[in-house]
Symmetry: C2
Subunit: 157 residues, 2 copies
DNA sequence: AGAATTAATGAAAATCATTTCCATTTATAA
DNA sequence: TTATAAATGGAAATGATTTTCATTAATTCT
């Protein structure tokens, strides 16, 4: 198993190598899919998208790669409460597509929102700094999610 | 199955009845444990705590009850990324013990923090209002979590 | 380039939290 | 107290994720 604490803020190709991981076909395929698809993909979603082009990349590899990517901070692993993890490319808290989530507990649909993000991110950064110092924590990720009922679901209930 | 949209902001005993649920021994035992224990309990944790006093309350009932409580908004279901859900009593976003979480991705330990909560909650409330209007969403819960490495884990890696 | 080394892989099996099924019990309403 | 519908438990099913292990591929060393 490759060596430890590689959670800096770079960008891929190089990041892998720097951390002692090998850049393989499968891993590139997965990164490719992730960067091409907007959204929140489950491991199986990714498998299905990768499979046509690379039929010999197994689901196990998808899981293993997502785990690596997640540890490297290149991917966010998300939980929307439906029992399967979702993954999306991280682009750094200041990155172009940073967003938070609005999750409907009725139909499990998810809205990405970018409104209010600036204020949120600013506050989060202060908070991160304060918490990091106080609790001696090296924070490298955060999750903000709102749960509720979407228009459709709040009518149907 | 009892009827629908019972996600108001009251407090238990009564809340159950009002929503058409029956208040049974098992359910009370679970609420009792939840209100007595500070922390983030898994379904099994709760089972183990309930079992000595009420050996005939099964794990299935724990899950079912937690699901009900969660739908009623009386309990938060949390995910700290270790593959099992954790539950804690909700006391309303303005309640006495409201806190957010700092999760160590190394050892899965969790710190509850209350610093910055006021600012966070204030911002979240504005955001909730704005998002609710814009996306026609009835928001009734939020999650803020920071992920990182605790002091110990960032040394060991 | 070729051999040696070690990480990465796939397929199948194992794991493990959570759900479902169903016959029985219990809480509530009549 | 009886009728009815919800709640229960235990066993079995489910389904996402991990582990195992023999094989393959990427890197390193000559």
């Amino acid at each position: 198993m490759p060596r430890g604490n590689c959670q800096g803020q770079g960008w891929w190709h190089g990041k892998f190598r720097d951390c002692g991981y090998r850049l393989t076909i499968g891993r590139e395929a997965i990164l490719d899919i992730l960067s091409r698809s907007e959204g929140h993909l489950s491991a199986e979603d990714i498998y299905i998208k990768v499979h046509p082009k690379y039929p010999n990349v197994g689901l196990t590899t998808i899981y293993r790669t997502l785990d690596v990517l997640s540890n490297l901070g290149m991917v966010y692993k998300l939980d929307f409460g439906d029992g399967r993890a979702r993954y999306e490319l991280a682009e750094g808290p200041k990155g172009a597509h940073h967003h938070h989530h609005l999750v409907c507990t009725g139909c499990n649909s998810v809205i990405d929102y970018t409104d209010f993000i600036d204020e949120e991110v600013e506050l989060l950064q202060q908070t991160e700094k304060g918490l990091g110092k106080k609790y001696n924590f090296k924070i490298n990720n955060h999750v903000i999610q709102f749960y509720g009922l979407c228009g459709k679901c709040s009518v149907n209930k």
